[in-house]
Every structure is written in structure tokens, then in C-alpha cells.
């Protein structure tokens, strides 16, 4: 009971801080707009080429904004040494992890919905029937990304060259998630049903379970003095 309350308190705190400061969210919205320009300039107006690379580009957008968002998640804890307070909180630290993960997941899903909306409008994509399947893939992929991202963000929060190290550690580990989401998105956008990408969905599920369980079990060690 107290475990759930502590996790909720952390998630609520992170979202309240973000809702009021809008620091990360504002930057990410602006960043996604810029990405749109970059993609348009590099891909040109060729519809066919665009359709071919769209799944990859879409996930590139998601991953880049995730790197920015997740990399900052423990910054707020450093400002007035709140990190020390979390360290000294008695009880299971994985509650803090769960709270952070929930907050990050919520933030990333908001940004991803926004990026997806921008893509639909500016690249004139017809999501149509693909949408429900796409939601499943995005949800599972984002969970995997956020699960490891939150763990690694905690590990790199107090390390030299944090901004550099975080993506360098996160990206190789996340390659299974990236391959699965890109390939599944590709198939879904081509009009295939979710069942046709069942193996990718299973891989994502397996990855999510592994990542979340390992993070829950090891977060105590990360948040140790």
C-alpha cells in the first residue's frame, strides 16, 4: 500500500513539475517541429521515397525526443540535492523507479502523439485502419525505451559527460526495440493486420518484460549511496 503511494507520489510530482514548468515539453514540441523541417529537406517531395522511409523516420523522431526527455528526468533531482533525499527514503527504491517510469511514459506518449499528428498533417499520411495496431506497437515500444531509459538516466545522472554517455549506453541496448517497432510500423502502414507482425509484437512484449523486471530488481543498487 505504502509502496503504491510512494510510486504515485513520485509520478505525480514529476508530472506536476512538468505541467507547471513545461520545460521539457516546450523544448520537445519545438524540437519535433524542427525534425519535420529536417526530414522534409533531406527527403524532398518524392512521395514514394517518403513512404518507404517513413516508419524509420517516424521512430527516429520518437527516439531522438526520448533521448532528450529521458536524459533530463533526474536533472530535477539534482537541483537542490533532492537526489540525496530519494536515496535516504526508507523502503524499496523500485517504487521510485516505477513512479519515474510512469511519469516518463506519460510525457513521451504526449510527445509521440504530437509527432504522429504532425506527420499525418505535413506528410499527408493516411493512418486509417493501421491506427489501432500502430497504437499497440507505439505503446509497447515506448515502454521498452522508457524502461531502460529511466534506469540508465539514473545511472548517468551523477556521471561526468552525462549528456554523451546516456545515448551511447541506451541506443545499442535498444536496437531490438527499434528494429521491432520500425519493421512492425512499416508492415502496418502497408495495410497489413496486426497479426502479420505478431512475431515483432511478441519480441516487444518479451523485451518490455525483461527490461521492466531487471530495472525493478536493480534500481535499489543504482539508488544506493
Amino acid at each position: 500500500m505504502s509502496y503504491a503511494r510512494r510510486a504515485l507520489a513520485v509520478a505525480w510530482k514529476d508530472l506536476a513539475v512538468e505541467r507547471r514548468s513545461k520545460e521539457t515539453l516546450n523544448a520537445l514540441v519545438f524540437f519535433s517541429l524542427l525534425l519535420l523541417f529536417v526530414f522534409q529537406f533531406t527527403l524532398g517531395g518524392d512521395r514514394e521515397r517518403l513512404a518507404a522511409v517513413l516508419p524509420g523516420v517516424l521512430w527516429l523522431g520518437f527516439v531522438l525526443s526520448a533521448l532528450l526527455a529521458l536524459g533530463r528526468t533526474f536533472l530535477v533531482e539534482r537541483e537542490h540535492d533532492c537526489w540525496e533525499g530519494l536515496l535516504l527514503a526508507p523502503g524499496d527504491k523500485s517504487a521510485i523507479y516505477l513512479g519515474k517510469l510512469a511519469g516518463n511514459l506519460a510525457l513521451m506518449l504526449v510527445v509521440e502523439a504530437l509527432v504522429l499528428g504532425l506527420f499525418v498533417v505535413f506528410f499527408d499520411i493516411d493512418l486509417g485502419r493501421a491506427l489501432p495496431g500502430l497504437l499497440v506497437v507505439v505503446l509497447l515500444g515506448t515502454l521498452g525505451l522508457a524502461a531502460v531509459g529511466t534506469l540508465f538516466a539514473a545511472m548517468t545522472a551523477n556521471v561526468r559527460a552525462r549528456e554523451l554517455l546516456f545515448p551511447v549506453l541506451l541506443l545499442p541496448v535498444q536496437i531490438p526495440v527499434l528494429l521491432a517497432t520500425v519493421k512492425a510500423t512499416e508492415a502496418l502502414l502497408l495495410g497489413e493486420p496486426l497479426g502479420a507482425v505478431g512475431h515483432w509484437v511478441k519480441l516487444l512484449l518479451a523485451a518490455d518484460v525483461v527490461y521492466v523486471v531487471v530495472s525493478l530488481l536493480t534500481f535499489d543498487v543504482v539508488l544506493e549511496a
Binding site: 554517455l165 551511447v168 528494429l179 543504482v222
Partner: protein, 215 residues
Amino acid sequence: MVKTLGWLTAAALAAGLVMAFGVAPREVTQGNVQRIMYVHVPLILASYVAFVVLAVASLVYLVRRDPAADGVAHASGEVGVMFVGLGIATGSIWGKPTWGTWWTWDARLTSVAILFVMYLGYLLLRGTIDDPERAARYCAVLGIVAALDIPLVHFSVYWWRTLHQPPSLMKPGGFTGSSSILWPLLVNLLAFILLYVYFVARRARLLRAQAEAIA
């Protein structure tokens, strides 16, 4: 003890060389170039051994908090990354004359390359944390996550694309090559695993001496 191991390793490596050049037959289509396999395959397989040992040592460290376990993990990371790096290099040298290219994004090459960058990150993380105890903890977590990620990487990359000739040693239906290839390969594999163990023993001892000198 470590010294004996060193001589044993040297002997095994020498035997491996003799086997690779003397005993193993000249491959019909690829010619002598194919003999690089006797270095390439053992390097890659020994690096997998290193990464599994790294994960187990990490787990042991987290449970027992024994700096010796962390030393084994640390040394295994360094030797493993070196072996994978050399494995990729020898693979490239082999690939150029046979496939006509240094590199191709096929499934196994890609998985091994991912492993290489993943564990390079592991060494980077170690290098950026000053407090040895914290470095040990964080690296242990990363070592466990990375090891569990290996099967995920393999499956995803395999589904993503596959061009490579099927694995030559362990595949469904058993080994199909002749024993004239198998024995030289096994001797070299043993030699490289011994080399890995020897390196780890030396490196772990050095790390312990370093820690004692500081404390």
C-alpha cells in the same frame, strides 16, 4: 598458478597454429584465405564466453559485494571487447576476398557489431565514474542488462535480415563439416578461451593491486 596457465595458453595457441596451417585442409573454393576462420570463429566465441562470465560476475558482485567479482567482470569486459574487435577485423579481412566487401549488414555481422558497441559503452561507463564502488555497482547493472539483451538482439537482427552462411559449428542437425576442419577449430577455440582466462587472471590481479595501493 597464473604462470602455468600462461605456458599452457602459449602451448595451446602454438598447437592451434600448427593445426590450422598443417592439419586443416586447404579449402577448395576460397583457398588459403579460409584458414583465418581458425582465428576468427574462436575469437568471437571466446568473446561470448567473456560476456557471459561478465554477467555472472556482475550478479555475484551485486549479491556478495566482493571486489574480486567486480575485477573479473571488469577484466572480462576489456578482453571481450578486444576479442570482438579482433573478431570483426579478421572477419573483414576474410570477407574482402570471399564476398568482395569488407562489411555487409547481414544478421550475424550486425549482431556482433551491436555487441561490440554495447560493451564499448560498458567500458566507457567504467571510465567515467571515479568512485570504484559506484563504478562496480553501475557496471554490474549494465552488464546484466546487456547480457539479457543479447538474445533479443540476435532474434531481432535475425528476423530483420539474414544472408550469412548458417553457423558452422552448432546448428540443428549437428556439425556437417569434416573432422579435418572440426579438430583444428576446437583446438583453437580451447586456446583462445585459455587466452581469455589468462588475460582475466592477470588483469584482475593488477586491478586488485591497484585498489590496495589506493586504500
